[in-house]
Amino acid sequence: MSRVTIPIGPQHPLLKEPMSFNITLEGENVIDSALRLGYVHRGIEKLAETRSFIQNITLFERVCGICSHIHTTTYCQAVEGLLELEVPRRAVYIRMLLCELERIHSHLLWMGVLAKNIGLNTVFMYSWRDREIVLDLMEEISGGRVSHAINTIGGVRKDLKEGQVQKLSEGLSVLSERVDELLRIVDNDRSFKARTQGIGFLSEEDVRRYCVVGPVARASGVDVDLRKNVPYACYDELSFKVVSMTEGDVWARSMVRIHETSEAIRLCEQIIEKLPEGEIAATAKRKVPAGEFISRSEAPRGEVVYFVKSDGSQTPARVKVRTPTLTALITLPRQLSGLQMADVSAVVAGVDLCIACADR
């Protein structure tokens, strides 16, 4: 049978961000696929070397258009590490609150994208409707729906007020019910299962060899979550489960993400309950002592690493950003091999790609 190569991207309805993806088909079967990145490469790491430590917060907020807060949190943690600065506990809690709200937002957004890609438009509408609740909550706290600009070196810029806590509690309880409904769909709906079960399989061994992280890894039985394994911030003071499954397909990834959304809601409730009193920021010096620091955290898509090197001046000598989806992208040809063309959309959505993160 003759082979046909179909280009998907750089601009394509299947992709929310630009990436080039050439799929070779034999009939309906995927034989091979090749990737090309760089369409949203903004040279952020190079640009960071020309800006001061504090200016870079604005820059790193823009690495990702979905999980912007985790990037600034991880960056600030690294700079605070170099400064040997103790961040007030209230600030750490507010940071964690935004991180968990962002996780809920990211997972609900992803749920909509997957549902849209596999033709379940109602689920897409429902999950994006519910995502509005969490976006409104984030706007209430920080003033921004996606870019929050709340982090600063030494703490946060805005305090949580009593009225906001009340609104948060109400919003979270509505979200909790809605997420249960989504879980019911993912766990029971025949159409959803037919389109996602046994699709895009990655074994535990694949996850290990390809250094895959986050919900994709946890859906294949690798229960690594940096919030548990290396409790940064104050995650050791909160109780939550690391959700993992063993099926390794798109359905398992959906289950993991929905369960994680419920866990994130529980975490937010605990954070509000345990929110310590006190200052929200420590004073940080503008010049950062020479040294190197690695900071790690668990973004909605997995491990984020910031390597920050200072030469003792006001600007960093080097900042390296490790984003979670770069390794998941490498597995795409493996996941797609042997599948049919109609499954490509489910697999591509299933790994929750963030091309802007991957390119930087």
Binding site: C211, N229, K320, R322, T327, I330
Partner: protein, 150 residues
């Protein structure tokens, strides 16, 4: 502790490496020469350390270095100084296929020679890029005189 064991074993390899002083890191790190990379990876794998977080290219005290950040409950970094233009490192993609894009990035952005890695096509930079390795402090390749075409 697996990382602890690996660290002790890697330090034995490291004792023969050149004695230039490098920056301190907040995680365990071992300084190795480029040809010790593959034996070091073998030691890490024997100690059940598989997860490569990323590869960082960085200028440290006048030397361009490659930092291989591994993680297993705690971090461990291999620091490989790229002493001169002739220094190359072996690709890890045979044992760690997840290293592919990190290596491609190091090769494109810093112009580091990675043996066994196919760099015939660009991955991050535009196809018509003629400006050399953009993250280099000194130009690795002479910048193109002609203007870039759109």
């Amino acid at each position: 502790m697996t990382v602890g064991n690996a660290f002790v074993e890697l330090q034995k390899l490291s004792s023969e490496a050149e004695d230039i002083s490098f920056s301190e890191l907040n995680e365990k790190q071992v300084i190795l020469s480029a040809d010790q990379l593959l034996p070091a990876i073998k030691i890490l794998h024997e100690n059940d350390i598989y997860h490569l977080s990323t590869i960082t290219g960085v200028y440290d005290k006048e030397h361009l270095c490659l930092l291989y950040h591994f993680w297993k409950e705690e971090g461990i970094t291999l620091r490989i100084p790229i002493i001169d233009e002739k220094t190359s490192v072996e690709t890890l993609t045979k044992t760690i296929p997840g290293a592919l894009f990190y290596e491609r990035e190091a090769a494109e952005m810093f112009g580091i020679q990675i043996d066994g890695l196919d760099t015939s096509e660009k991955m991050f930079l535009p196809d018509n890029w003629k400006g050399g390795a953009p993250m280099r402090k000194e130009p690795a390749v002479a910048p193109a005189e002609e203007k870039e075409e759109d």
